[in-house]
Each structure stands twice: as structure tokens, then as C-alpha cells.
């Protein structure tokens, strides 16, 4: 089955299929989640293991785990910084990651340490190239 995955234009992406949104222009606060393609590959998300607020994240390093009905995957930090919040709604409704990956299913908020790291992320066009054709 071929299908078109949504890849909103206003987001930045990683090759690990995460997305990042800057809260405002020049803001050092960003929101992070996984892409529609990633949630589709994982299947039903049933649990997320996330670190406490205040945890330091390093770009490219795993910081948490996302469990689906059939598998478990690591979450990788798209940028370095401090974790300043996680989506409490996912505790009771982890399926929001499947139903609304770019909105209600966001995963963590991060205060970035070095805004220049954002330049290393992918725009929507570049990310779309990484989605394998089914």
C-alpha cells in the first residue's frame, strides 16, 4: 500500500524521523515529536519512557523510549539542551502519538543550548526524500 505521509512545511526534521518546532521566531524553546511516518512504522504506541524535566539532552543521543504494541524504539534528541516539559496527556492516551503526531501527540519541550544546531536539521523537502517508498 502506498500512502502519502504528512510532513508539515513549518517543521524541522531529523533522519531518525523526529520533528522539531520552534515556539516562536528566535525562541530557544522547541517542541519535539515523531513524524507521521515514524508512528505508522511503530504501530500502536502504548507507553513512553521519558526523563524528568531538567535533564540535559545531547544532540543525536537517545533520551527516551517509545513502546508500541509490537516493538520498542529509542527517541533521539534532535538538538542539545535541557528538557523543560513532556506531554502529560500521553500518560493516559499514548495513542495521541498515532492519532495526532504533529499536534496533540507532541512528546517533549526542550530549551536549546546552541541555536546553530538547528541549521543541521532537515527541512520538509529534504526529510521527504528519506521516507522509503513502500
Amino acid at each position: 500500500m502506498t500512502m502519502e505521509y504528512q510532513t508539515p512545511e513549518h517543521l524541522l526534521y531529523t533522519s531518525d524521523h523526529e520533528w522539531l518546532r520552534r515556539e516562536a521566531e528566535n525562541s530557544d524553546e522547541v517542541t519535539v515529536g515523531i513524524t507521521e511516518f515514524a508512528q505508522e512504522q511503530l504501530g500502536d504506541v502504548v507507553y513512553l519512557e521519558l526523563p524528568a524535566d531538567g535533564t540535559a539532552l545531547s544532540a543525536g543521543e537517545p533520551f527516551g523510549e517509545i513502546e508500541s504494541a509490537k516493538t520498542v524504539a529509542e527517541l533521539f534528541a534532535p538538538v542539545s539542551g535541557e528538557l523543560i516539559g513532556s506531554n502529560g496527556a500521553l500518560e493516559d492516551r499514548p495513542e495521541l502519538v498515532n492519532e495526532s503526531p504533529y499536534d496533540e501527540g507532541w512528546i517533549v519541550r526542550v530549551r536549546i543550548a546552541d541555536a546553530s544546531e538547528l541549521d543541521g536539521l532537515l527541512d520538509a523537502d529534504a526529510y521527504r526524500e528519506l521516507i522509503p517508498e513502500d
Binding site: 500502536d44 513502546e67 504494541a69
Partner: protein, 369 residues
Amino acid sequence: MSVQSSPDVLTSLTLRERHVALGSRFAPFAGWEMPLQYDGIVAEHLAVRERVGIFDVSHLARAWVQGPHAAGQLRSVTTFDVTTLPEGKAHYSLYCNEDGGIEDDIFIYHLPEDRWLVIHNAAHADADFERLRLVAGDAASEVTQETVMLAIQGPEAMSLLGRVFGPTIGSLEPRDCAELDWRGASVLFARTGYTGEDGGECIVEAGLAGELWDAFVSGGATPCGLGARDTLRLEAALPLHGNDIDRTTHPYEAGLGFAVSLDDGAAFIGRDALLEAEARPRTRRLAHLAARARGVIRTGYDVREAGGGEVVAQLTSGGHSPSLRLGIGMAYLPVELAKRGTMLEVDVRGRALPVEVVRRPFYRKPRES
């Protein structure tokens, strides 16, 4: 996220194109290319718990043993005394080895005129059929390729089956089996399954299978893949051969004593070892573990004594229960730890997740009002 690589040659299902059209994602399983999921494991699982689902389980091997000696021949290689099984009944049974270990778990259907149908797991199809051929010769014949097997499961399954096959189906009790006329052909039906729900399994000639599948799907059955089949059977605490039982486990420690007959005195492979095993106090028992904190406990994870104690077992099966919304699993525990209420820990990649020994099944059907 890795994409599974395809192994060498897989057998395709007769109804493959229908599964593709329904959006199935496939996975290799015991040499077959099987639907893993369609809309998603959780949605399919809940459809079976709340309404009705349909599974293509044609990978299960199907073999006939026929003739006046069939019952005795089956008795000599299986653990359950099928010679007492009335016509029109099906029963769970086992092939054991000389040590009493479980070589495979099977279902045996007794049909009129000395005809017996045996259902084998796909992974052991060849070895199992060879067992039958050794005792029954040409009276044993395999029909896996010529037929399709569909499971219809869920609280609404019997009413759907009644709409498709006619109201006579309603007179069948659990584990009854019968041959039904459908569109000029004979469909073998048994009120059995592997989900903990009501329903049945149908075996139909391959040429008519598409029509029968369509009748069930258009009648409201949700197509379900192996993913949901596994979560459903785990909630029902039904063992999976290769995981929870294998040639090193004996039926009594697995809680499968009901599938072994010793009282009739009949000889069968493994009888001596099983006589001894039955008389001996158990050292371990297949226990049922439910997580008492959020997280998923998976097959193969270590089970420890509480407080970071010694590893006492590995989970033979484990996963997320969509109905209970918690982690559940099974493990062979030393009998002193296998008591209900015992608190243990499962090592979830370095994190200790508390689990409690609970009674089986994990999921129980709500009482009909």
C-alpha cells in the same frame, strides 16, 4: 526503526490479494507470508473483544486420518485419549517426545464415518504429518494447500456465523464440530478459537474461500492479523508453542494436564515420562505476570526476585494488553514464587518493573447481562 528483511521463499496465502486490498502489512511467520496487521493491532484486538474479527489462519496445517483404525492410530502418537471423543467433538491435544516434552500442541476433530482432522502449528507441519504417516500410512493425508482456514471470533461471532451458515449453527456447543453445506460445498466448522472469545473456525475448499471471506467481512467482521492474534491469545493465557511450551517443557508444569490421558492405560509416545512427571512434585510452573507500573514487559526479559534480587526466569511471552492497558506475560517460576500475589520484577532494559503473579486468564469476558 528497522524494516524486516524478507527471508528466502515464503508460502503465500490463497487469499493474499484480498489481504493486500484491505491494507494488510505482511510479516514472515513459520515459512508463510502472513498478515501482521491491517488497521492496527489495538483496533483489531478491540474489535474481537467488543464485536467480531476474522483471521486467515491457513498457515495452520490440516491433515486427515481416516478409517476404522484412525482413533487408535491417533491415540498412539498423541497425549489425549481421543478414542473417547464423540463424533462431532474437537479436543486439544499434544505430541510429546519420549521425555514427555511437548513437540507440538494440536487440535483433533472427530467427524462421522471414522474421519479425523488434525490441526498442526505451521512451524512443525512436516514433522507432525510424518508422525501421522508413520502410524496411519496412506490413511493420513494433508489438505493444507487445498483448503483455507478462517477464524471468526468475538461476542458477535456466533450471530454472524448464523447469518452466513444458517441458524443450525446456534445448536453447536463449544468445541462441537460439524460439516455445513454452503453454496454447494461442505465447510468444516468447529466452535473453537485462540482468542478467549466465542466463535469458531472454518475450513473451506480453496476455490470457495474468497466468497466465504467476503461474506464474513461484508457481514461486519474486522480483518485481524497475527499481531492481534498474539495479544488476544496472551490475554486469554493460551500458550504459544515455541514460546511458552516446547520440547523441553512438560504438560503438567505448563498447566496442560487436561490434554493428557493416563488412566486408559493406552501406550503413546511419552507416556512413561509423563506418568513419572505427573507423580513427581512440580519444581516450576508456568505463571502469569501482570505489570504493576506503566511499561511493557516483552518476551525474553529477565524476571527477578523483588528488590533487584536474583534472576529466576525469562518471560516466555510478554507484551502490552490492549484490553487491560498494562504489561502482561508468562514465565516458568519456581513453585514457591508461582503463587498468586507474589511480587517480582521484570528487567525492562535495565529498569525494574514490578509485576504480580495473577491467576489465568488475564482477561475474562464480561458476564452476559
